[in-house]
């Protein structure tokens, strides 16, 4: 029965697969800023860069928080979103963001050399980790959209956050904004490893989506053969992962600032597009997939 079901657009009075239309560019922006900001914060705690930590916090508050506020239908009620951490991943994410900002801000206010700095910064980094991965759990918890309902989603969020954080850290270090406590060569190697792992996870994700029933296959087809195939292969995979990996491999840690800037922009473009496209291809299961009329 599901084979004959059409992909229904808009409010048509037809039974079939329906694409979700509400979570789109702004939610993708919030996810993007959340992961890049939280990733930068976590890596900056490891590299002990206060400027990196501050930028990470600002990206999370301004970018992620701003995108969420722009998206909300009633932005002044955002505080109500903290009411249900027991069952809602949106609530949990909001709490994690709040704790990350409070603890991160506290760590940054401590004087240099304070013995409290590292313990407070590590606690803030733990909350940053939750900020980085909670949207993966948020998407996974939606049984309604099979392409999102996979355990790989939080894993993908985690690795993309680490990748975004590493890229931003390398960018800041190359342009002399921060001094790294660990070698730049080591961080470049980490970047390459993360790019390879992310490429592998995206391939695994696509492979599992084919087995996620008829709606999963419909989403898969939208991504690899349908209207989203060009941005997916060109931007999310080509620019974001393959081009970045090759550039990092050949340029290495001695790359010129221009090349590093290019790698950073390419990585961020790929990062944004992968999650934007994954939101766009969300397709609901047909409600009568198993009911013979």
């Amino acid at each position: 029965m599901s084979k004959s079901m059409p992909l229904v657009e808009g409010n048509a009075y037809v039974l079939g697969f329906r694409q979700q239309v509400e979570w789109s560019a702004l939610i993708a922006s919030a996810f993007f800023f959340g992961k890049v900001g939280a990733g930068l914060f976590m890596i900056s705690v490891v590299t002990q860069s206060r400027l990196g930590m501050l930028l990470g916090l600002l990206i999370v508050v301004g970018g992620k928080g701003g995108a969420h506020l722009l998206y909300l239908g009633q932005p002044w009620r955002f505080w109500r979103g903290m009411s249900r951490p027991g069952s809602s991943w949106v609530s949990r994410g909001l709490w994690a963001m709040t704790f990350m900002v409070v603890m991160g801000g506290w760590a940054l206010l401590l004087p240099a050399g304070s013995s409290l700095f590292m313990p407070v910064a590590v606690i803030a980094a733990l909350f940053a980790f939750v900020v980085a991965i909670y949207d993966g759990f948020l998407l996974t918890s939606s049984n309604a959209i099979p392409i999102w309902n996979t355990a790989l989603m939080p894993v993908m969020c985690m690795f993309y956050a680490f990748l975004g954080g590493t890229t931003m850290t390398l960018f800041l270090a190359h342009f002399g904004f921060i001094q790294l406590a660990i070698g730049e060569r080591l961080l470049s190697a980490v970047e390459m490893a993360l790019l390879s792992v992310n490429l592998l996870i995206v391939i695994m994700y696509l492979a599992t989506s084919v087995t996620a029933g008829a709606a999963g296959k419909t989403s898969f087809n939208l991504l690899v053969r349908g209207p989203y195939a060009v941005p997916f292969f060109a931007l999310a995979i080509g620019v974001g992962l393959v081009f970045t990996l090759l550039m990092t491999f050949f340029a290495g840690s001695d790359a010129s600032p221009g090349v590093v800037a290019l790698i950073t922009v390419a990585d961020l473009i790929g990062h944004y597009y992968i999650f934007y496209l994954l939101l766009k291809i969300g397709v609901f299961k047909p409600i009568f997939g198993q009911l013979k009329i």
Binding site: Y13, V14, H68, G73, S88, A144
Partner: protein, 202 residues
Amino acid sequence: MHYGMVVDLKRCVGCQACTIACKSENGTPPGVMYTKVLDQVSGEYPNVRKQFVPVLCNHCVNAPCQRVCPTGATYKRDDGLVLVDHDKCMGCRACYVACPYNNRIFLKRGRLKQGYHGKVMTPYEAVKYKEHQDGIVEKCKFCSHRVDEGLKPACVQTCPADARIFGDLDDPNSTVSRLIRSRGGVQALSDDNTEPSVYYLS
């Protein structure tokens, strides 16, 4: 008490009277439908059939929309009705992506400024739109305001083919319970363990 609905697909003629009755009762703005009748064309020429499937909020026992709601705006009454507190909803649409039945509607900001005839509202629209808020998510309420007064939901009251039957699922002698037992009522997407309160008879 657990209110539920039985939809007899053999009786539905696809007239959309329920859709209009719902819009009229709830005064929803253009493009917002708490219920509607979908159709499906099956078979191959010359043996083609058109079938009609009314859809609405399933008022699930294990409602995913309630679970994911971060504000507590979506809540469940003791009689099984899943409702939205308009004053608590912040419009995050987590419920929209969590509802497997795709029966939640987001009222975009400014949507209540225009009626069916543009910016000039009919007196009816002017009164009814006050019951809504833009920037929030709405859905079928099983006409809770009517049910509380002992009336049937507007779609059930209006259906000319008696395709929609409303009643107490907890009462084994109610019409809905007897129909589900005798004709094998099926819940949509029953594998998702949402336990919908809407049953379909085929």
